[in-house]
Subunit: 440 residues, 2 copies
């Protein structure tokens, strides 16, 4: 009998609660501040733009376990559990003694992990009487997920997509429209924030920062409209912990426990989603596991940013967040990993990095696509440009094991597939891809 | 506890054999004929262009069960079982008492069922010392699957893609190149067949018929090169029976048995793959199940074609096949369901249709996309334009149940996702899609 390749859970084994790492952290994340008064924000303050329940979860430092609402669980069942896969073919191609596993979130509806948080955010909005949701999106993974979730719970949806990503990946806006959403390229002329940015820089390619400004403006100036976010915020990472909670049970079925956990890093939600449930054992039981966030060399907030209070958006509409940041006016290079082009990191991850629980590596664009191509050709899935960073970091670790002979167990998150990103692979195959330098 | 949504199999429950319906058919398919001599072809004749093992399987009317080679099974484990899903949300949107299930082949590597046959075909080629494989592809689902399978077993791969489909879905050729294949639009100037077609009709949009001619020519004029086919042939349907064999076990877990089985129809492989294992019980035990093939109104070989001997390709290079056909020079309209633009049907399905075991319906293009959109918005997966035909046929049946009140159990095959086909959805959403008339 050949060795088992994929590990799945029955519906009866699926997690019924999310894990809130804030409750277990020794040093809690610093508070979000009102930029005018410099006072800590309350859940009521946050509820002006977010669903009230999300605002409450955002600041919850008490409850380690939060129930997944039945209606959200019913939608999770459309695609969860996702497979935990042993990457035998990749291991063989590398010649490594390491045991490489990946959590395959690429088979989710809309192709990425994003839907795990889009569903609860839309559910809470609906419950609270909201009729419209809005958001920003980079590569479009989050916008696509939100469009579907909004449709599932009967909400209208408006998405601001980073202009350069919209041009690079035209199919993503079609996907959003298929689910009934309206989509605008950011910076746009439809908001004051967008107009101001275009006035300053008519050729601005857009960034998550500009798109957030526009969506927040729409939410605060439209009745019955809430803002939603696909990463960065703590409640988003909370929802994503279904990934790690499933992976924990699946690793048990595989009879192993990860020595190293790796995910790519944009705002932190796919990293936190996989890592936090395992990190619980590190915090509470001293379990020795290494956690590695893989960010692009051209947008290295974790490896080259500063820990300080900064705005989450370009125009300065958001609260001040205590985080590793490159500055909210940082303009990221036009790399294909649109979801990693963000100047800051979530507050939880920033605190954990500061406290030495994890580390970060930065990956040049061409190294990421070389890794993605090898992964596709061995494991049969074309990874999203974002996920390629996690694969590249995994390959670095697996190659170290060749030297040391260690049979390390490495687990990484395949956060999404790259089928909508084929222009990026085309560029790579044609030798046109560059490694933009970080200009700090 | 809410009702179960998805049904999966453990690796230990996966089928280890394919089901060969030819062995159980009362009236066997008529023989393939040599067009020059009109003599029945032998396996040796077929082995000039196909792998010898595939040629043997093609004509096998004795063995109902054929072992899946261990190396192929190892690759099946990368993605099988695929989920059997109860479409609760679609049922609710339709207000039907019917129980709708679908087999989700869209989560396969490369996004469709095609890989189920690409893997064994490449495996057998490799075993027999072949170094190169070639094929035709329409929408590109088959070409993408073959490119991956060739890479997996260490073969070189050259694909002729229907020109109009290549233009409609540019990402698919990028996908093939990602797996190291070379891709040409057909008709091309690289073969005699292609040149002849272009000379007769310089604006020929291409068809599966033209692309087959070119690939067969390459295979027969290149040393150590075999031709592979993604549908039509009996050995391809044989490999696809993993779909129905899994579905049978999964329906058992769901505690139901299908009254109606539906799949879209191009050459017949996804239809046969799902239907044949169930049809076994109809043939051997008289089980009353209805089998419906859904074809496009503009290419209706099953509903409006003739049962006769015809070539499989435009140039007349293939054997003569006993099948329902619109004539090998039939030029299909440029509908977006590239995989259904083929003039003929497989010989097994043709015999079964003739003998009354199944029926066919033809679906206009706009009806197919309306069905696909409703499916996406309810069940969260954007279906391939081909699969939209199966969904439209399912919706017709489910609506009949509203009138009759019957709780019919309907099972259809979601043969692939439509993420690479978003230009088609764009056209539909913009109101630009037409229903080309069949000109017989």
């Amino acid at each position: 009998m050949s060795k088992q390749k994929r590990f799945l859970l029955d519906e009866s084994e699926l997690p019924r609660q999310w894990y809130n790492i804030q409750a277990d952290m020794i040093n809690k994340p610093l508070p979000l501040l009102n930029p005018a008064t410099k006072e800590p924000l309350t859940a009521d303050d946050l509820a002006h733009i977010f669903a009230a329940e999300c605002a409450k979860q955002e600041l919850d430092q008490e409850h380690a376990w939060i129930d997944i609402p039945e209606e959200v669980f019913d939608r999770y069942k459309y695609y969860r559990s996702t497979p935990l896969v042993r990457a035998y073919a990749l291991e063989k191609a590398l010649g490594t003694p390491a045991h490489i596993y990946f959590k395959n979130e690429s088979v989710n509806p809309l192709g990425s992990h994003k839907i795990n948080s889009a569903l609860p955010q839309c559910y809470y909005c609906k419950q609270e009487g909201t009729t419209n949701v809005t958001t920003e999106t980079g590569a479009g993974q989050w916008g696509a997920a939100l469009s579907y979730a909004a449709k599932a719970f009967g909400l209208e949806c408006a998405v601001y997509q980073v202009k350069i990503s919209m041009q690079q990946k035209p199919y993503r806006s079609s996907i959003m429209r298929t689910f009934g959403a309206t989509v605008e390229g950011s910076p746009s002329m439809s908001t004051r924030a967008g107009k101001d940015i275009i006035t300053r820089d008519p050729l601005h390619p857009g960034s998550l920062g500009t798109a957030i400004s526009e969506a927040v403006e729409l939410a605060t100036t439209t009745p019955n409209c809430k803002y939603t976010l696909g990463s960065v915020m703590s409640h988003v990472s909370l929802h994503q912990t279904v990934i790690g909670l499933e992976a924990e049970k699946q690793m048990e079925k595989a009879g192993e426990y990860p020595d190293t956990i790796i995910a790519c890093f944009g705002g932190g939600s796919n990293f936190g989603g996989l890592a936090f449930p395992f990190m619980r054992h590190t915090i509470l039981e001293g379990k020795k596991t290494e956690y590695i966030a893989a960010e692009p060399s051209s947008c290295p907030k974790l490896t080259k940013g500063k820990f300080e209070y900064d705005f989450g958006d370009e125009a300065g509409y958001t609260p001040l967040l205590p985080m590793y940041t490159l500055g909210h006016e940082f303009k990221p290079a036009n790399i294909h990993a649109g979801g990693l082009r963000y100047h800051g990191a979530g507050t939880i991850v920033s605190q954990l990095l500061k406290d030495g629980y994890m580390r970060a590596v930065d990956i040049p664009q061409t190294e990421s696509f070389a890794a993605g191509l090898l992964f596709a050709q061995t494991e049969s899935i074309i990874p999203a440009p974002e996920s390629c960073h996690a694969i590249a970091a995994t390959i670095r670790e697996a190659k170290k094991c060749i030297e040391t002979g260690e049979e390390k167990v490495i687990l990484f998150n395949l956060s999404g597939h790259g089928l909508i990103d084929m222009t990026a692979y085309d560029s790579y195959l044609n030798g046109d891809l560059t490694d933009p330098e970080f200009k700090g």
